[in-house]
């Protein structure tokens, strides 16, 4: 047990807690209510404080730091507007189950409830978008609360935890005593899956004629990738992944059918619809994944679902064989049983099933018409993949470019694909890239974005300059909010209501104004060379903002129209 014999201020105690948790980066922005904490930060050097330009970016950067490392991300914001600015970031992390500890300043305890300057009910405002939150009213409670916060954030189904600390509490004196362990009688997340259920699931999978595996973000978050690969390869099963699960299974492997869902591949969606036994691993049958629920359920199939969160099971789709447990532990149990029992499989049926899948695959649903006139956004992503040898960390914003990134940059490793899947937050791309680059200073980090999304957190170009983050920003600039425009084209009679980005800045000059390198690319013939230049040793230390002027009318295909079923995709060839 870490103890101090001398009295410390609440702020000093808080810093000591962060040291105990081996925190390397705190993303934050100072303000009145957190001045004591910032003063204590000034006097320590065990973690680095990353000053952002807007609190939303602090949370996003901490979030991406966590997504790319598996560690808990930490952010610090002031009371009132600091906390409200953080809410979008917190809700984003909550929807994607990312473990964060957010420390927010609060007005002094004696002023709470008096509508004090920069006061807001932070605990109340954040309650629906955190896994848990605390208001610390006594300096004696800081250490125990921080211990709980880190434990709750990282265990079970992870999520953001907020700790709200009034200013006077950070000034009061107390002894520092950091607990070794934490016990919460009301919170005991399950880890091991039920063995009987696991055996039942394996029996179903091995006897299946048309088995299918659907893997989600839980595999990435639960570091279960190696175990999933082992299971899939030992049973020779076809597998698809959600947007959040990409990289959990190598995308370049032949058993991988590509991403499923609204913009999933033809083969993945058809196999999902036509399978007789479906194994869902750390995924939650999201509306963007299975399309119309009734349509999905119109085909008979047996569904096995592994998830650490019991409330994810049978939430949207009735599950036949639920297995509540940590994905890694459950998959590891499965692999062990397979190794010892070597169950017989329905190999003839499986062969036929793969033949059917290959037939679907031969539709080549991701092919697109190349152009010498316009830069195709898909082509930019494909070239990015080649230039980075498929080994970059890719962050994205939200919209068409996000889907193209997911479709045309195959991820072979987990924690390489960082995007906002659940909440769909425009503006995350650049701050995400900051968190990733700080966590992996030597890695290639590219932010695939659009000219609309990037402007939602563009002020962070300043943070990137201050911390020398050599991120490559890949802007697919089609002068439209592309996904909005695509829906308006398909479902609103080409009435492009407010989806045209007028008065765009000159991004090259803007990048230069922030002290970075700007490159504009207007000709398809220049795409590859421009990317090579951006990733060349000459610009290794520099942030390069690439503004690709892409085909304005390009759409994302395949597409399942809203309310339609998995097998009711619109393909590019249909038009």
């Amino acid at each position: 047990m870490e103890q101090s014999s001398k009295q410390l201020t609440g702020a000093e105690i808080l810093i000591r807690c962060l040291h105990e948790e081996k925190v390397k980066f705190v993303f934050g922005y100072p303000g009145g209510a957190v001045l004591n904490i910032y003063d204590a930060i000034f006097q320590q050097n065990k973690f680095k404080h990353v000053l952002v330009r807007h609190e939303q970016a602090a949370i996003h950067a901490a979030d991406a730091y966590s997504r790319s490392t598996g560690e808990v991300g930490v952010a610090l914001v002031t009371s009132g507007p600091g906390a409200t600015n953080a809410v979008t970031g917190i809700a984003t992390a909550y929807m994607d189950s990312v473990p964060l500890v957010i420390i927010s300043g609060q007005v002094p305890t004696y002023a709470i409830g008096e509508d004090a300057f920069q006061e807001c009910d932070t605990v109340g405002i954040t309650r629906p978008c955190v896994k848990h939150n605390f208001l610390v009213k006594d300096v004696k409670d800081i250490a125990a609360t921080m211990k709980k916060a880190f434990y709750v954030a990282a265990s079970g189904r992870p999520g953001p935890v907020l700790v709200d600390i009034p200013k006077d509490v950070t000034a009061h004196l107390g002894l520092f005593e950091y607990p070794n362990t934490v016990q919460l009688r009301s919170y005991n997340p399950v880890t091991k899956g039920h063995l009987g259920q696991i055996k039942k699931a394996l029996k179903l999978l091995t006897e299946a004629k048309r088995p299918m595996v659907y893997s989600g973000g839980g595999v990435v978050l639960g570091d279960a990738s190696a175990h999933l690969i082992k299971l899939i390869q030992s049973l020779g099963l076809p597998i698809t992944s959600t947007l959040m699960g990409l990289g959990g299974y190598p995308s370049t492997d032949k058993q991988f059918l590509g991403m499923l869902g609204m913009h999933g591949t033809y083969e993945a969606n058809m196999a999902m619809q036509e399978c007789d036994v479906l194994l869902a691993v750390g995924a939650r049958f999201d509306d963007r994944v299975i399309g119309n629920t009734e349509h999905f359920l119109s085909r008979p199939r047996t569904i096995i679902h592994i998830d650490i969160d019991p409330s994810s099971i049978s939430k949207r789709v009735k599950i036949d064989v639920p297995i509540v447990g940590d994905v890694k532990s459950v998959l590891s149990d499965m692999n062990e049983i397979i190794a010892t029992e070597k169950p017989a499989q329905n190999t003839a049926a499986l062969k036929d099933w793969f033949q059917q899948i290959e037939q679907w695959r031969s539709k080549n649903c991701l092919s697109y018409a190349q152009s010498t006139e316009f830069i195709k956004p898909q082509y930019v992503i494909q070239k990015l993949y080649e230039v980075t040898k498929g080994d970059a960390y890719i962050t994205s914003d939200v919209g068409q470019h996000q889907m193209w990134a997911a479709q045309y940059y195959p991820f072979d490793k987990p924690r390489r694909w960082i995007n906002s899947g659940g909440l769909g937050t425009m503006g995350v791309g650049l701050p995400y890239a900051m968190g990733v680059q700080l966590a992996h200073p030597e890695a290639q980090v590219a932010c695939i974005t659009g000219e609309a999304s990037i402007q939602m957190c563009i002020q962070e170009l300043s943070t990137c300059k201050q911390f020398h983050l050599p991120i490559k920003v890949i802007t697919l600039n089609n002068r439209y909010m592309g996904m909005v425009r695509q829906w308006q084209e398909f479902f609103y009679g080409n009435r492009y209501s407010e989806s045209y980005m007028e008065a765009l800045p000159d991004f090259v000059k803007l990048a230069e104004a922030y002290g970075h390198v700007g490159i504009r690319v207007e000709n398809p013939a220049d795409v590859e060379d421009a990317l090579k230049e951006a990733f060349s040793p000459k610009l290794k230390e520099r942030l390069v903002f690439m503004d690709f002027m892409t085909d304005q009318k390009e759409n994302v295909f395949p597409m399942i129209p809203n309310g339609k079923g998995l097998s009711e995709m619109i393909l590019a060839e249909d038009l």
Partner: protein, 163 residues
């Protein structure tokens, strides 16, 4: 179907709003909700009367269990249980009403706990349907004010909700 859900939670500020917030955020019904500390002052016991399909009730139970402050959850409808609710009714007690109110109160085994010149206050406990029946049987014009606690429930026999 109507369900009575009992839960034990940490007696901490904000715990109630976590539960209430969960119901509103996910669009679940609350017919009534009562909460008070238990014999263990660190714990509060809450009784929620809700309604929904089996799937909705299953999700409610799971979502309640997911709240960090919630220690234990029990759907009383999963077994035998007793339900009681307290109601106070202030009624007109003038002229002919005075005798009739006393008679109605006796029939429903209520007690008159306050007597004034023109009114009685009647205390009545029972299941929600019994309280409803009492209200139904009174002349609407005689009812001056009502207050109900919402249902509390407890399992029969060996069904015990305790930490």
């Amino acid at each position: 179907m109507r369900h009575i859900i009992s839960l034990l939670m940490e007696n901490e500020s904000g715990a109630l709003s976590r539960v209430a917030g969960l119901f509103s955020a996910r669009g679940y019904n609350i017919e009534s909700l009562t909460v008070a500390p238990t014999e263990d002052p660190t714990l509060s016991r809450m009784t929620i009367v809700t309604s929904g399909s089996d799937e909705v009730i299953e999700q409610i139970i799971k979502q309640l269990n997911k709240l960090i402050d919630v220690v234990k959850v029990l759907d009383l409808n999963d077994g035998k249980f007793i339900e009681r609710e307290l109601m106070l009714v202030k009624v007109k007690a003038t002229g002919a009403f005075r005798e009739e109110m006393k008679r109605m109160c006796d029939i429903f085994r209520g007690r008159i706990i306050d007597v004034a010149d023109g009114s009685f206050t009647i205390e009545l406990t029972g299941s929600g349907t019994k309280l409803d029946a009492f209200i139904e049987s009174l002349d609407k014009a005689a009812i001056l004010e009502t207050v109900r606690t919402g249902a509390s429930g407890i399992g029969r026999g060996d069904r015990i909700l305790k930490v």
